[in-house]
């Protein structure tokens, strides 16, 4: 079935540094969403992309549907960025989201 492969599974950053998370899709996806899940379990919407690149503050995301991947770049990481990041891809038009396994990010002082 459709799969979303997310990497890395875990990431540790020092404050002020940055990195990138990536999701690869095994089939063509219509759109991708990125979420941050905090310690209470709340899912915070970061981005919705049907194509191209979006930027919001220290976060930037790209979705390349032809090459079947999406990335989330974090720059100048802050302690509050810690949490689990999920990408979720939408294959059809029914709103079915297929989630990656998540990236657990820990930002250290």
């Amino acid at each position: 079935g459709d799969q979303v492969e997310q990497s890395p599974s875990a990431l540790s950053l020092h404050e002020g540094t940055g990195s990138a998370l990536r999701c690869n899709f095994t089939t063509t996806m219509r759109a991708v969403q990125w979420f941050q899940q905090n310690s209470r379990g709340s899912l915070i919407n970061l981005f919705y992309l049907a194509s191209g690149t979006k930027e919001n503050g220290r976060l930037k995301s790209t979705f390349n549907s032809k090459e079947s991947y999406s990335t989330l770049h974090i720059r100048d990481a802050q302690l509050e960025d810690s949490g689990t990041y999920f990408c979720a891809a939408e294959g059809g038009n029914t709103g079915k989201l297929i989630f990656g396994l998540g990236t657990t990010l820990q930002v250290q002082p």
């Binding site: 379990g41 899912l43 919407n45 979720a88 709103g95 297929i98 989630f99």
Partner: protein, 110 residues
């Protein structure tokens, strides 16, 4: 502004007992509604979705059922809980594309 509310916040239930979880969305008419389940430390799995009142599509059943009795209400239930039902249940809504999640209900089945 739209708000999404889930109840209860948390439940501890016995194996074999019934369960009913609720989700209400306010401030948006005819939203698409979704139920998700997340095992502890795991990823999210979509269970059901509904486009309109009285209509529910199953994605993965897990011995659960869902109903949409009102435009703004989505209910997840089962008559007999299993240990494997433990986890975090999230309701989501979408106007068209982006899905927005509720605060979730934590369920522990003993």
């Amino acid at each position: 502004a739209q708000t999404i509310h889930q109840w209860p916040v948390a439940e501890i239930k016995a194996v074999g007992s019934p369960l009913s979880l609720g989700c209400t969305i306010k401030g948006k008419s005819s939203p698409n509604l979704y139920w998700y389940w997340q095992a502890t430390g795991g990823t999210l799995q979509q269970l059901f979705y509904s486009i309109t009142v009285g209509q529910v599509e199953s994605v993965v059943q897990l011995n659960l059922s869902a109903s949409r009795p009102k435009d703004d209400q989505f209910i997840l239930s089962t008559e007999k809980l299993l240990l494997s039902h433990s986890g975090f249940y999230l309701c989501a809504w979408s106007p068209i594309d982006t899905q927005y999640f509720g605060p979730g209900t934590r369920l522990l089945v003993l």
